[in-house]
Amino acid sequence: MPRDAEPSLSERTFVTKALNEGLRVDNRKFDQCRPVSLTFGDEFGVVDVSFGKTRVLARTSAEVTVPYADRPFDGVFTITSELSPMVAPSIEPNRPTETEVLLSRLLEKTVRRSGALDTESLCLVAGQKCWSVRVDLHVLNHDGNILDAACLAVIASLRHFKRPETTLDGEVLTVYTPAEREPVPLSWLHSPFCVTFSFYGEEGDIVLMDPTWLEEQLRVSSCTFSLNRHGEICQVSKLGGSAVDAPLFIQCAQTALSKSKEYTDLLERQLADDAKSRDKGGLMAELTAENDR
């Protein structure tokens, strides 16, 4: 049975000592995040997000299914998150660890329950046919702060995804291939992002953003805000750990808002770049057989 790697005493004392002196092991400032990279794949809905060494891959797919009997006018929307043994040998497949359960629960609350995706728009024939949109999330490397990275990946993947165009003619439902008709993006309502804060020190008064795995193992408590760029909070979770002062908590919420705006800007910019690189100048330019001479 492989054992989870734990930080040694020296690492514990050193990290704490350095934090009390206002230093972090990788020389970042307390509220400074690692460089975020967000790249899209060739297919629609494939996103690779990395925060420093933390790396998460998300993929969205859609298929036509039968809606749930109690919700005939809604489509199906699921988020499947998976931590594989690739992350660490201590993770066993099909036996979810606490991290994994918390990750999927928080993503559920942030993205699904906040109504980010308009599920009614996924309905094709009431009570008979609907789209089932599924996001598969794979954590490729865990170096702390997977929740923020995972949330960014899921939102980016859903925003990037395009489902096939359909028409309903009488009782005949036609699903067109991308060559026949341009695929359509999902009907999107708002983009919430998770921002996690970690607290250190005896009174929990040192706040770090985007901790590495080592720092994450040594924190006394943490809290996660999920909010969109308008400051509408979807959920706040602070699961155990030591108590945190109320003014500090409010301050964290303010920082979370500015961070959420940053993520929104990043995502919009990358989506625009991606759209530009895919645009070949209209259907005529795409279909022409003429070569440059």
Binding site: A5, E6, S10, L23, V25
Partner: protein, 241 residues
């Protein structure tokens, strides 16, 4: 000695002129090479082919991989727990622990055993490494009874580095000048390198520890040459002040 580095991929054909031939000694194959009878030598790893004509040996050096203990190597381990007669020490993550007997410390007797809390670091030498048994360590030279620099490491910070970099750090001609450069500008610190890919550094000043640790890990991950390492050290020093 090989004049220029030669890189091979698994399954590559090795030029016969590169294989050392010694009139008396038998050819010794190091890690990463396999003998395919009757007279072929096939690489099984990707890396640098190193030949030693005096020892009539040939091996492949790679920077990556998992640590496998070998007798006589110096390692930095974390004490997991103390048993009746020995400590259980982790050398690398997710592997079976190595054993460090209580009596293998300098001037340790049955009455005065060293007290090491779980999580403390030790600098030790591998005394037994068997494929099917847990490795054994010691913190004392068996014939002189002196510690010779081995023993518990208190304070400081430990960084993970790649195995190839750890090996180069321990060689005098490994081409790593980071530590010499940092020392030459007057920084005071002490270090220990374990072959298991651990680098320990301690200093009075927290900033020094962070600067040294970052310079080492960055030279490792970006595989910097000597001149780039000097540049990196200058950059780190500027940040410190």
């Amino acid at each position: 000695m090989a004049s220029q580095p030669m890189f091979v991929l698994p399954g590559d054909r090795i030029d016969p002129s590169l294989i050392p031939s010694h009139p008396k000694k038998a050819l010794r194959l190091g890690p990463g090479l396999q003998h395919a009878p009757p007279n072929d030598i096939i690489p099984t790893l990707a890396g640098r082919l190193v030949t030693d004509h005096q020892k009539n040996a040939i091996r492949i050096e790679t920077a990556t991989g998992r640590y496998v203990p070998r007798v006589g190597e110096l390692v930095i381990g974390t004490v997991q727990r103390s048993a009746a007669e020995s400590f259980f020490v982790t050398l690398s993550d997710y592997t079976a622990p190595a054993l460090l007997p209580h009596l293998s410390f300098e001037s340790a007797t049955k009455k005065t055993r060293p007290q090491l809390a779980p999580g403390s670091l030790v600098y030790a030498r591998v005394t037994m490494a068997n494929k099917h048994m847990d490795a054994e360590l010691e913190c004392v030279h068996p014939s002189t009874g002196k510690s010779e620099g081995l023993g518990p490491l208190t304070g400081g910070m430990v960084y993970d580095i790649s195995l190839g970099f750890a090996r180069r750090l321990m060689m005098s001609k490994g081409g790593i000048v980071v530590l010499d450069e940092m020392e030459s500008v007057g920084l005071q610190f002490e270090t220990a390198t374990g072959r298991n890919g651990k680098f320990w550094v301690n200093s009075e000043n927290t900033k020094t520890v962070i600067a040294v640790g970052r310079a080492i890990t960055e030279s490792d991950t970006q595989s910097l040459g000597a001149e780039e390492q000097r540049k990196l050290v200058r950059k780190r020093l500027k940040e410190m002040s």
